[in-house]
């Protein structure tokens, strides 16, 4: 990473791309609200208005440019939507009503449109979340959710998941090294019982580790709330900046509906 700073690469921080940009500096909750609002406008846009989605895509590209998140970061991360893409690609093959002929294959028009809708809306949503994760450290995101009054329990569970992923990963690695040092190699179905027992041991160990971490946290006065270490105040300028995206989105959506009628 071309950054002069040293940074954590925990599960929670792996998605974060460190830069000093206006978008990075926006408070997390502002970004979350802007993103959700933008996604809603995208979803509300009639899928027949193809141009509107082109504009949305351009807007997100602009955001990525301002945040200096390169395509080489965004594109590989878009692989998470592959299952949905497959689903969307299947839709034109099933349905009723009008059909079109594409290269000798009969496709249903309604399915084609619905598939395109899922594909483009899903893609825009995924890119949105990628941009949010790349510009906001996981911990700030959790604090942002807390400020947005998301129930403590959900925020806590998520934050513990983030924290323990690398602990469990390390543990898993140590166990694998220990297994292989004693000549074990995972080959075929015959090795499954060993793997299964390791998984059981891993569960117990991680559980106990988690308990010890929790004790150590309690010992330092943890009361179930993550303290805010770098307090920030959200200014109206932050909100104005962030709302440019959903406001522009809303404009597009309204125009699209107006044309549609």
């Amino acid at each position: 990473m071309p950054s002069p700073h040293q940074h954590g690469h925990d599960a929670g921080e792996r998605l974060f791309v460190h830069r000093h940009t206006r978008i990075h500096s926006l408070p997390a909750e502002v970004k979350v609200v802007a993103m959700v609002a933008f996604i809603f406008t995208v979803i509300a846009t009639p899928i027949e208005q193809f141009w509107a989605f082109g504009v949305y895509a351009l807007m997100l590209i602009a955001v990525a440019a301002v945040a200096r998140i390169p395509a080489t970061v965004i594109l590989p991360r878009m692989l998470v939507e592959v299952p949905f893409v497959l689903f969307a690609l299947l839709m034109p093959f099933f349905g009723t009503g009008a059909t079109v002929n594409v290269f000798g294959v009969t496709l249903y028009q309604a399915g084609l449109l619905a598939g395109w809708g899922i594909l483009i809306k899903g893609t825009l949503g995924v890119v949105c979340s990628i941009l949010l994760a790349a510009t906001t450290p996981a911990r700030d995101l959790l604090l942002g959710l807390e400020r947005l009054k998301v129930p403590q329990l959900i925020v806590q569970i998520t934050s513990f998941m983030l924290r323990y992923t690398h602990v469990v990963g390390d543990e898993m690695n140590r166990m694998r090294v220990a297994r292989e040092s004693r000549g074990f190699h995972a080959t075929g179905i015959g090795s499954w019982p060993v793997i299964a027992r390791s998984a059981g041991a891993l569960f117990i160990r991680s559980y106990e580790r988690g308990e010890r971490v929790h004790l150590a946290m309690l010992s330092r006065g943890y009361t179930g709330r993550l303290p805010e270490l770098t307090p920030y105040t959200t200014t109206s300028a932050d909100w104005t900046t962030a709302m440019v995206l959903p406001a522009a989105g809303l404009l597009i959506a309204l125009t699209a509906w107006w044309i549609q009628k």
Partner: protein, 247 residues
Amino acid sequence: MTSTLKISGLAYAYPDGYQALFGVDLDIQRGERVALLGPNGAGKTTLVLHLNGILAGGVGSVEVAGLTVEKENFQEIRRRVGIVFQDPDDQLFMPTVHDDIAFGPANMGVTGDELEARVSEALDLVGMAEFSDRPPHHLSFGQRRRVAVATVLAMRPEILVLDEPSSNLDPASRRELADILRGLDITMLMVTHDLPYALELCPRAVILSGGVIVADGVTRDIMMDDVLMKENRLELPYGFDPRNVPA
């Protein structure tokens, strides 16, 4: 004058019925450095977990600087008692060293410049200032142990409790940590199997064995009492003679 730590008649059985402590009495005055010695399974860690109310519900009482350890006081007690756990990986969980050290004081409601001051003060005390922005799990074990000490120092505790501070350290890291600990102006209770370390750092030692305190006195005297040592499975390292250590 009130003691910094006063334990009276503390007995405790684990939920599975195993009785680990049978009436422990211990009094530590302000500024003392005390070694808590004892064989494996003696109940040392069990005792430590009582000092800030992580374990409770047995008989007897624990007081820290005059304040009884009980549920209503937990937050203040946890500020007063700083426990450094044996495995630094259990203690360090934040994305950066800085954030981890800030965690404790922030839980106590310290914010802003005061919080930053606490963090840099603690980092300086353990000589880790230049590692502030590093993720803890990328540090060496010895460095992690020092950061773990800093996380607790940042809370400005009345008493620093260390569970096996020298374990798994190479000789140089072990000595560096000793230098740091000796330089701290703080009351200290140190659980250790490292007897030369105890002798070096703690003028006073107590032996916990079978859930009771069986000896309490000057560390050197205790270590020279061969019978007492043998009875409690305490063995000095090969070739080590406390008589030859300068007082």
